[in-house]
Amino acid sequence: MNQVTPPPAAPLGLLAELTHRCALGCPYCSNPLELEARSRELSTDEWKRVFSEAAALGVLQVHLSGGEPALRRDIVELVAHCAREGLYTNLITSGVGYRPELIAQLAEAGLDHVQLSVQDSEPGSADHIGGYNGAFERKREIARRTVETGVPLTINAVIHRANVARAPDMVMLALDWGAGRVEIAHTQYYGWALPNRALLMPPRNAALAAIAAVEALKIELHGRIAIDHVLPDYHANVPKACMGGWGRRTLNVTPAGKVLPCHASESIPGLEFWSVREHALGDVWRANPAFQAYRGTGWMKEPCLSCARREVDFGGCRCQALMLTGDAANTDPVCHLSPHHDRILSAVEADGVGEGAPAAAYEYRRFTRADVVG
């Protein structure tokens, strides 16, 4: 095989989307619009092989995600397998749709960390955003059970128009629920968030006020809770280092076994993603042309090509470049140097107008009826 680029360094993390099934229907879900049916999911043995290959490849942390990963009947077995392979396991959970007793079983099996989503600090609003009555109380119980086991807890809160005024309250909720860490993440417009963008994007001044309040709490609560703050890139001037660079640090395996550089990369046409059903994970990482496509800096055009930040932000996000400029190899239009930067500004102007919870109905993340029945 003619390989001009040197072999990449080993990946640090693997995001395992065990299933797309989930009781919640959050309108900003990062899953693709076309969800995988249960019948297409990898088997227990297939996932075990993926985790063993990941460990051999140099992966250190496995993020068990979905959908709701705890809906997999083999979740305890999979966690135990990862622990035996020396992998650090992180459960990314909605807290809904499974028995709370499961948390203690997972801790016993060697689970290292729980990341629990919370949709709002107001229970009624939280249940409305997730599209599931009673979700908030179930999450509180999962948090309580997690703290009881001693496994460290992170609360993850996605920020958008309906809850932006309560971003600081969600930090306090995380503290109150016993979390050692909280992620306050402003919505990124991929997956289901894109069709819902007009209902999700907060006005610029509301976003800035929330950012200032959370930054103040970072100082005030130093040493009591760690706050990770993911800022809204539509209001930024330089792009985020999406995934720490394409095919550079992490890989993602979908419920059906497709290996992706990031969870949104299937939105880029012309890339062929290999499956763990046909390829070893290490072969995909090293040789799949889709992983090579935007790896490093060789694919870049101006203004990225000559930019001093090209190995800082790697040109930002390929998916966002595609969605907003029509070419995934363009500079992420979030960058002020992008000739398409005005498209971000006009999106903010067009969508970032409403205050509080939107009156119109969200397009909730749902399977089609046929998939639910199947």
Binding site: G58, L60, G86, Y88, Q115, G150, V151, P152, A226, D228
Partner: protein, 96 residues
């Protein structure tokens, strides 16, 4: 004498917090410290200190052990150990 940060007495017995793991990474041939959503690659000095955080040895014992193992001035080791521990205590990655 190095100033003693609050919460780090000579007889404290530091250990890694639950959810924080030190691992010998065979692929990279290096020690790695794993924590929630974080991978830290400690320098060789830090790796030697981290290997001794077992919740049994005291801060003084760890410093003595390192000073002897590496034939290094005790004051310098003491400063390194306390600097690392106070940083990790603030990040809640080490408990005493």
């Amino acid at each position: 004498m190095t100033a003693e940060p609050a919460g780090l007495a000579d007889d404290a017995r530091p250990k890694l917090a639950r959810g924080v793991k030190l691992k010998r990474d065979g692929v990279r041939g290096a020690w790695v410290l794993l924590a929630p959503e974080r991978v830290i690659q400690p320098n060789p000095v830090a790796a030697e200190i981290l290997q001794r955080l077992d919740g049994v040895r005291t801060v003084v014992e760890i410093v003595d052990d390192l000073a002897q193992a590496f034939q290094a001035p005790r004051e310098r080791i003491d400063a390194d150990v306390r600097a690392l521990l106070s940083d990790l205590l603030a990040k809640r990655m080490v408990v005493t």
